[in-house]
Structures are given as C-alpha cells and as structure tokens.
Symmetry: C2
DNA sequence: ACAAATTTTTAGATTTGTCTAAATTTTAAT
DNA sequence: ATTAAAATTTAGACAAATCTAAAAATTTGT
C-alpha cells in the first residue's frame, strides 16, 4: 500500500466524507444524497456538492448531478481502511488503556487519520487481531474483508428465545452509560421472558437476574441467537 | 488542562511553529529569527512573519518586528506538552510495537497532535512513566518539568575516561541505522582508548570489544561519565 | 399535469496557510 | 558614515474547505 501513503494523498476532510458516504450507503449500491451527507456531517449541502466533485475527480465516488454519490471500489477500499483504523484504535483504548466504551469514539475519530500502515498493523497484532470493536461492530481485515455477524435486535426476538448480546445500534455515550449502569454488557446471555403489548417493553432474564427494559432500549441492542 | 482542549484551539500548523521555535530557542531567552524558522520548517520567511503575528495575537510568542520571536510562558508550556506527547509516542512505538528507533519520528510527528489528555496520560502510565525517549531525550512530565541529563559528546571526552552512551545528537534515520549496524546502542559502556590527532577519530572500547570511530560519529553521541 | 415545495447546484465571499515579488529595515564592510 | 548585502515585512495572489444567497432541477400533491 505504498501507493496510498505517498502517491495518493487523501486529506482528512476527504476521508471524513468517504467514511460518511460509506455509512450512509449501507452496502446498498444506490446513491447517497447531498442533503443526507450534509445533515450527517453537520455542514451545508453546497459544501457537499463541492466535495462530491473533488472526490469524483480523484476517483473515490461516482457523482451524478442532482442525483447523489456512490463509492467506487477504490472509495470502498479507502472507507474500509479508515473504519478498520477507527475500530482497532477503539479496541486498543478499551483493552490497553482502560477507556470505557463511551469514551473511545472521539479519540478514535482523530486516530483513524494517522497515516502509517506499519502502525495500524502493529496495533492489530498487539491486540491479537480482534474481529469486533467495543460496540460489537466488525473490524475489516487488512484486505478489506469483514464478517457481519448474524444478529437481530432484541426487540425483534420471539418470546422465550435466548441469545447473547453482541452489539449496540445506538453508540451514543448516553446510551452506553445507561447500559453500564444497568449492568448490560456485550457477552451477556439474554432470554425474553415476556413482551408487553401496550408499550412493547420487555421482561428479560440476563445473567440470572430478571430485568424490565423499554422498547427504546431493546431496539438498540443486537442479539445473536443461540444455535 | 480542560482549557486547552476546548476553549483554546491550537491548529496543527500553530503547534508545529511553536515546537520549532522552542527547539531553535534552546532555552536561551533570546529571539529566534524569521529566517531560522523558515529554514527549519522548509517554508518561506514571509509565511513565518504571518504566523508570528498570529501566534503573538494568541499569546504564544512575543514578536518584535524585524527582530524575531520568543515563546511566552504559555508558549513554552504548549511546546512542552507537544514534545511530551511526541516523545511518549516514540517510546510507545519502540517498547510496545517493536518499531526501531529510526522509524519512530515520522509517526510521532502525526501522533503528537492528537488532542486527548486522558490518552497521553494513559500511554504515560502504560509505559511506566519513562523519563527519556528512544534517542535519549528527556520527556517532560505532565506539569512541564524534565531532567536534562548531565552528559557530554563522546568527542569531548578525555583519554581513558569511561561512560555510558545515553543519547544521540543527530537523530536522522541514516545515523541511527549506522549505529545499529555497528552495535552501538544507548546503555553501552564506552571508554576512550586513543585519540587520533590527524582526523580526530577515536579508538574506543565498547562492551568489551575495540572499535575505531570517526569524529563525525563521536561528535553525535552523548555520554554520561561514570561517577 | 402543473404549481408548489424541496433538493441541489452555482456564484461569489471568507478563513487559513501558504507563495512570489517588491519594498523596507537591519547588518556588515569599507 | 555611507553604501552594499542580507534579512524581514508588506502586498497581492492562490488553493482548500467552508459559507450564504440566488438560481436551477427534481419531486410532490392534488
């Protein structure tokens, strides 16, 4: 990847756009709108248009006027490399520096832009090649492959079924802190005991104890069903 | 230092100027010239003038037209905080990720700009609060204090005196690789056996073996004399 | 299908950090 | 003490990334 770090310079701003387009595109191949990008990045649509042209010129996106943008293969690879760095740094912060999962995002947003292939590969090795980040999101490998776990929202699980909590949908500090306070953590075994029709809240069994949780919470927790 | 990371925003460019002014100022309180800064940073004197005004406005330097700049106390603290980060990251790269001492500078130049007090303090703790970086330079503590070792250049040592190699003056990759190739490393015990008047080269004893080194090399190695 | 609402783009301006070329100040030399 | 040389600053320009306001295209509602 000599190419990357030297010949083809990508600015921090470009990287942030590419990452955002990747997340909004959500592996479907349809176009992402200027407005959606602007809203997500807290910027103006006109700024997005300018950047869309630049990214198209550099080969990261296909841009159709008035339609939106989609990442090229090159753009997807670039996005995956940034996401890989972001998530590996998050694991590093939690595993090696005892950050809590609600503190890692901000710092990883900075660290993901550090340009050194050797650095991130060494971090990967130091962490023993983790497959998931502290929020349960998959970490792309060096060659851009990653395994999306077969998982479902707790709110979508059938009565009496059991599984392991493997991820969060909402990664806001507020939600993560709430989970900590209620001893809900990744790896916990959860069984749906009862569903309340009225407000769609759930009675669950988690690690032995019984718990009542709102729909809002249940619809932001990912569960991997037991085989 | 809440102040720092939020209220008072320092750009990466400003940080690089502050760092350069600190190094050129070399703890003497006299002014650093525009030209010197420009040369060191591979930029133009006119650019330095512009930045000098901005840094003065923000309180980092005292700027006297046609005379030069010197850091204020605030500027010195800022410089020490950047240098602290740079050197701690260098130790991290060597100690935890097995980088060699000639590979760390480039990456540390990027990492030193990451803004998170918790991050750098955690790295500091992880490394067990090192006092010196891989090149033997002192690491400022959180409150900006650091101990400059009592040391001298190998080329300035008297005949028959002995000491420990504690640092390098030239930190270029070329020099560091040369030292590696010749098994010269920090911590080695060195004794001056003979000095050649003609070219000022030295015969030394290092860790048992005898070695002939040029003045160029000897004048870039720091030795701490044995008590 | 057509007018209204929404989305997107264009045009022109701003900020940051840089440059070149010209003007000014300081330093050095005789 | 003048003048020549060197260093420094000013003025004006440029690229990147952003903004606002206005224009153009698309979508929506009836």
């Amino acid at each position: 990847m000599y190419f990357w770090e030297n010949y083809f310079f990508v600015t921090r701003s470009e990287e942030n756009y590419i990452k955002t387009i990747f997340h909004l595109g959500d592996n479907s191949s349809d176009l992402v709108s200027t407005n959606a990008i602007a809203e997500q990045m807290d910027t103006k649509p006109s700024s997005v248009t300018d950047m869309a042209k630049k990214l198209a010129e550099k080969g990261f996106v296909n841009y159709k006027k008035y339609q939106g943008v989609s990442l090229t293969d090159f753009g997807i690879n670039t996005a995956l490399s940034i996401i890989r760095k972001h998530r590996l740094w998050e694991v590093f912060l939690v595993e090696k520096l005892d950050f809590s999962w609600d503190e890692v995002h901000e710092v990883a947003e900075q660290l993901e832009h550090i340009k050194s292939e050797k650095l991130i590969d060494s971090i990967d090795a130091l962490l023993d090649f983790p497959k998931y980040d502290p929020h349960g999101d998959p970490i792309p490998s060096k060659d851009g492959k990653f395994m999306e776990r077969h998982k479902q929202l707790l709110s979508d699980m059938a009565l009496k079924t059991e599984g392991v909590c493997v991820g969060v949908k909402d990664t806001s500090a507020a939600f993560l802190k709430f989970l900590d306070k209620n001893r809900i953590a990744l790896g916990n075994t959860i069984k749906v005991l009862e569903k309340e029709d009225f407000d769609q809240s759930l009675h669950i069994q988690m690690e032995g104890k019984e718990l009542h949780i709102s729909h809002q919470i249940a619809s932001n927790l990912y569960i991997k069903k037991n085989d």
